[in-house]
């Protein structure tokens, strides 16, 4: 392999060009790291608050009481009918005896003589869960349909609560998107501009290489490496920022989550996640460097 066509040579050239302009390089790395860290923090917060599988408290559910007092009924038929209702994910049977036993275990209720009650006053019930993310209107419509099912006495569902949760969830998602989209765009534009700027500064070199008959792919290669190296360093810096910021915010958020009975799952940031983050950023940098070089050298 010849000297200029080797990858080692291209990497050396990339380092020469980037480290040869320490101020510009430092600025690009620092600004990219800040944006990457902000993006990573947003993603991490979302992940901890709203994991891919929505927590139970966020999922719409209803308690369907069967008309047990009127004698024996076909519970299996009721369950099947409930499951057939649109957007119902599951309908789990809660036997009245099991419900009574569960209530009896509670000290406060056993103290008032609940366990002495005969016969069991509780009805058979079904806990119906709807598909996650279902629209509140669709859930309400399904609840109305369940009320019409034979042998269903009543359906307990709090429409206001689910409407509020749904609204807050949408709002949080849109705020995060509003923050993440400009940050991501700024990162991509910033790195591309930096790569283009370097190519313009190196225009003499590009012209001479063109004159000498260098392959455009070989001329682009140092810029691909420069982009990868820049974002690799930026990602490493960003990961350190994320780790530090997490350690700083974790106790406060944990306490607040406990106070408001919200789900918050603090977790150590694994090293493999950091390595993956850096690798992804390096690949993104290489891609942006390649695109910028292709546009600039192509001209």
């Amino acid at each position: 392999m010849s000297y200029t066509t080797s990858h080692v040579s291209a990497l050396r050239e990339a380092l020469r060009r980037t480290l040869g302009r320490p101020i510009e390089f430092g600025l690009v790395v620092a600004s990219s790291a800040t944006m990457l860290a902000a993006l990573a923090l947003i993603a991490l917060t979302l992940w901890r608050a709203l994991p891919l599988e929505q927590p139970q408290w966020m999922r719409p559910q209803a308690l369907v009481l069967a008309a047990g007092a009127q004698g024996e009924i076909d519970l299996a038929a009721v369950q099947t009918a409930l499951r057939r209702v649109a957007i119902v994910a599951s309908a789990d049977f809660l036997a009245r005896d099991a419900a009574l036993a569960e209530l009896a275990q509670r000290k406060s209720l056993s103290a008032i003589g609940l366990t002495d009650l005969r016969p069991n006053p509780l009805p058979d019930a079904f806990l119906v869960r709807f598909v996650p993310g279902a629209a509140p209107e669709a859930v309400e419509s399904a609840v109305a349909e369940m009320r019409k099912v034979k042998n269903v006495e009543s359906v307990e569902y709090q429409p206001e609560l689910y409407r509020r949760i749904s609204l807050l969830s949408q709002l949080a998602g849109r705020i995060c998107l509003l923050l993440a989209a400009p940050l991501g765009a700024a990162l991509i534009i910033g790195v591309s501009l930096a790569a283009s700027l370097w190519i313009r500064i190196d225009q003499d070199e590009v012209q001479v290489l063109n004159l000498l008959g260098a392959d455009p792919s070989i001329m682009r290669r140092p810029y691909v490496y420069a982009g990868a190296v820049s974002l690799l360093l930026a990602a490493a810096l960003a990961w350190w920022m994320v780790v530090e910021a997490s350690a700083w915010l974790e106790p406060l958020i944990g306490t607040a989550a406990q106070q408001y009975a919200l789900r918050w799952a603090p977790a150590e940031l694994p090293i493999w996640a950091g390595a993956l983050f850096c690798l992804g950023a390096a690949l993104l940098g290489a891609l942006l460097g390649w695109l910028a070089a292709r546009l600039a050298i192509g001209r």
Binding site: S2, Y3, T4, G20, E205, L209, N210, L211, L212, G213
Partner: protein, 268 residues
């Protein structure tokens, strides 16, 4: 690629066999190595070439030209007469607005960009002005052309040193020096060494003697004459009234063909 192979292949049987010797020693044979039939076929040809930039008057108008292998052509003209444009067209760096330019029978306008890129590796191009890269040493600047053409690092450096010696620069003294530290004439010689380092089949030299003193100019002409005699086609451009043209006629090879460009046409 096809044109590149043809240009180089035809050349391999003549000059390239002794090319390493040509670079390592200034005493190249002055007798042509190639057969008369090969010499007669035009290596370069321009057919009714026209070049205009926007609405301005054309820089070149209806230019017809045929240059044979091993010919030494001096393109001469006043500033703005189209010499540099002609050389850029011959190098495939620009396309003519009308007409065709052929190298070894291949129309440059029809060649793919990648093939043109490869073709330029078999040319030695000296652009006008200072074209050396300031951030690199002299030997790196010269070796760059060899590296681009596929030489290993060591081979590139070895050939760069030989080329520097050939144009009269002390390789030991100048190799590691930064280009910024060179005088303008030395930079011109280093740029010429870069044009020679790949043992090209075609030399396109713009403003050849622009920054050279008389003694260095004479030496450079002598070197180019040796290359030309060995089968290399040399097309050099010089401004009318430039210092080089005041050299005595005997300094130019006797077979030098002079083309005078006047207002974009070859003056009769």
């Amino acid at each position: 690629m096809r044109a590149t192979r043809r240009l180089t292949d035809n050349f391999t049987g003549s000059y390239a066999a002794d090319s390493s010797a040509a670079l390592s020693s200034p005493s190249v044979r002055t007798e042509p190595y190639i057969s008369e039939a090969t010499v007669q076929a035009p290596l370069l040809s321009c057919e009714a070439v026209e070049k205009r930039y926007g609405e301005f008057r054309p820089v070149l108008m209806g230019l017809d030209l045929a240059i044979r292998r091993g010919e030494f052509v001096l393109v001469q003209g006043a500033a703005g007469s189209g010499k540099s444009v002609l050389l850029r067209l011959l190098a495939g760096l620009e396309r003519p607005s009308a007409g065709a330019i052929k190298i070894a029978g291949e129309d440059l306008a029809r060649m793919r960009p990648r093939a043109l890129t490869h073709l330029r590796r078999s040319m030695g191009i000296l652009p006008p002005g200072d074209s050396l890269l300031r951030g690199r040493s002299v030997v790196e600047n010269v070796a760059l052309a060899a590296w681009v053409a596929g030489s290993t690092f060591e081979e590139g450096v070895r050939r760069a040193r030989a080329a520097l010696e050939l144009v009269g620069l002390d390789a030991e003294r100048f190799a590691a020096a930064s280009c910024a530290a060179l005088a303008s004439g030395e930079r011109q010689c280093a740029a010429l060494a870069r044009a020679l380092v790949n043992r090209p089949a075609l030399l396109l030299l713009d403003d050849l003697l622009g920054a050279l003193d008389e003694a260095t100019a004479a030496r450079v002409i002598g070197v180019l004459d040796q290359f030309s005699a060995a089968g290399v086609t040399v097309v050099a451009a010089m401004r009318s009234g430039a210092a080089g043209l005041t050299l005595s006629d005997s300094m130019w090879p006797a077979r030098t063909r002079i083309l005078r460009l006047l207002d974009g046409k070859v003056a009769q």
